[in-house]
């Protein structure tokens, strides 16, 4: 087994070797290096051909029309283009936007920017399972609402929103619906033919493709209009200028092809691994799985180990590459805003780990990880005054702490 073990697949995934192979063919003089926008020679034509093949591969994965696929630099750009693009184009219709508190920063920060520009944004609170329900959205809708932007799968806790039902609702009110699907595309089925989603952000590096490339799906029927954020050449039907990165695009296309072919078997395999992790950790005392246990992708687990602080826990897990829900590692002492929004106490939010499994995760790796986590939790609880107090029957919520 190679150490450290990578269990941070929701941060990024390694490029699948089959993807890398395709990309290499589009770089050097001997390869397909041309500018897809060059119309006057064979180098351009050949590059355009593989770009259009890749466009079809992405479209096939989400059951869309290839003409609805716009290449971007990644999900952050797709989110920006969708949110600012729609807001600016439809601002005469209204200035109200709905999103949620547990969106990725790539959605929250453009919303904040729009607020500075005079738009009004409603930030929905999820329920304690981490879900945004259609009812919550319906209650927040106003006559001047122009856009609802919600994530499909949450990157920290892995829960799945019912975007199909929310899409039905927004369509019936003729409100544009944007979905950040960075964590779901290629992992669970998405169908643009049957789902009423108008804009969908996709990232290649979350599905074993390269970093630096993504897609914004833009619906044609009914036609969704956007104000471009990037100008200069009118590529991608004017929605996103810039020379197309053939090698990146080809990589994303191949990644989507593989994901479509292997989705069902991979999902089943990850579900087994997830159960293996859970069954070996949840028998510990005071361990909490954050987010709905039913509505979730198998790859992401967010677990709080009460009375143990997340950063010190990670320090003990030398063989594991994982994330902590505690933001103590950054300059801020605030725990994860996602876990807080679920109603978790600061203390439990500080005590959480995100384990994300993926295509190259093995049973042996999972077992090794679990054993290391169990050992670290036991060690740190021995060190923890809170664990002492809990064992002595002290109600920690009744203690008067000297905050600092």
């Amino acid at each position: 087994m190679k150490l450290p073990i990578y269990l941070d697949y929701s941060a990024t995934t390694p490029v699948d070797p089959r993807v890398a192979e395709k990309m290499i063919q589009c770089l050097s003089l001997e390869g397909n290096f041309g500018n897809p926008a060059s119309r006057s020679h064979v180098f351009g034509w050949r590059a355009e051909e593989v770009v259009e093949d890749a466009r079809r591969q992405v479209a096939d994965l989400i059951h869309a029309d290839p003409r609805e696929i716009v290449w971007t630099s990644g999900a952050t750009e797709s989110d920006n283009l969708a949110i600012k693009g729609v807001a600016h184009f439809y601002s005469k219709k209204g200035k109200h936007i709905i999103t949620s508190r547990i969106e990725h920063k790539a959605v929250l920060d453009p919303c904040r920017q729009l607020e500075r520009e005079g738009f009004e944004v409603t930030y929905l609170d999820p329920d304690s399972d981490g879900l945004i329900t259609p009812e919550m959205v319906e209650k927040a809708l106003r006559d001047d609402t122009i856009l609802v932007s919600l994530m499909h799968v949450n990157n920290e806790i892995g829960v799945i929103n019912d975007i199909e039902a929310i899409g039905d609702l927004t369509r019936s009110r003729k409100i544009v619906f944007h979905v950040d699907a960075a964590q779901s595309v290629g992992k669970i089925p998405l169908n643009m033919e049957t789902m009423n989603i108008d804009l969908l952000s996709i990232s290649a590096h979350k599905l074993y493709g390269p970093k630096g490339i993504g897609v914004l799906y833009v619906r044609r029927k009914p036609r969704i209009r956007l104000e471009a954020q990037m100008h200069g050449g009118g590529h991608e039907r004017g929605m996103r200028s810039g020379t197309l990165a053939t090698h990146q695009i080809v990589g994303m296309g191949e990644a989507c092809r593989i994901a479509a072919a292997e989705m069902d078997s991979e999902r089943a395999r990850l579900a087994v691994l997830k159960e293996r992790v859970l069954s070996q950790l949840t028998d510990l005392e005071e361990v909490h799985v954050n987010g709905s246990l039913e509505q979730r992708v198998p790859g992401i687990l967010n677990i709080s180990f009460a009375f143990v602080e997340g950063e010190s826990l990670m320090m003990s897990l030398k063989d594991l590459a994982i994330s902590s829900g505690s933001a103590c590692t950054s300059a801020s002492l605030e725990p994860s805003y996602v876990l807080r929004a679920l109603g978790l106490s600061d203390e439990l939010a500080h005590s959480s780990l995100r384990i994300s499994l993926g295509r190259f995760t093995t049973e042996a790796e999972v077992d090794h990880a679990v054993a290391e986590i169990r050992e670290a939790v036991a060690k740190l609880r021995e060190l923890s005054p809170l664990w002492d107090m809990y064992k002595d029957g002290v109600d920690l919520s009744q203690v008067e702490w000297v905050a600092h």
């Binding site: 103590c328 002492l333 500080h350 923890s384 002492d388 702490w401 905050a403 600092h404």
Partner: protein
């Protein structure tokens, strides 16, 4: 984040982990911090009749730097008189452990814990003196 070697050493081999009898007259207990902030330190000292700290114990909930700060504090306090121990400064701890700026609060917390433990012990003695002989 990269930790200094000293932080890692204290984290992996914490000195003086444990618990003293909180109700003993010769034990002073300082508990500072809050779970919501991500760190809680409990530092205890056992003081002899000469006012010398014979033993020091800690338990800490917090990041590696917080654990290292309290571990180092117990090491430094042992064998010192109360007055000497009271002069330990957070800056000394931060310097010894090479704490980065974002972790300075861990050393501040350790200094607070030292002071709290000493104050607790002294308060117990005063209370003892004031108590009428039965």
């Amino acid at each position: 984040m990269a930790y200094s070697e000293k932080v890692i050493d204290h984290y992996e081999n914490p000195r003086n982990v444990g618990k003293l009898d909180q109700d003993s007259q010769s034990v002073g207990t300082g508990m500072v911090g809050a779970p919501a902030c991500g760190d809680v330190m409990r530092l205890q000292i056992q003081v002899n009749d000469e006012g010398v700290i014979e033993d020091a114990r800690f338990k800490t909930y917090g990041c590696g730097s917080a654990i290292a700060s309290s571990s180092l504090a117990t090491e430094w306090m042992k064998g010192k008189t109360l007055d000497e121990a009271a002069t330990i400064k957070n800056t000394d701890i931060a310097e010894e452990l090479a704490l980065p700026p974002v972790k300075i609060h861990c050393s501040v917390l350790a200094e607070d814990a030292i002071k709290a433990a000493i104050d607790d012990y002294r308060a117990k003695q005063k209370h003892d003196d004031a108590a009428p002989a039965a």
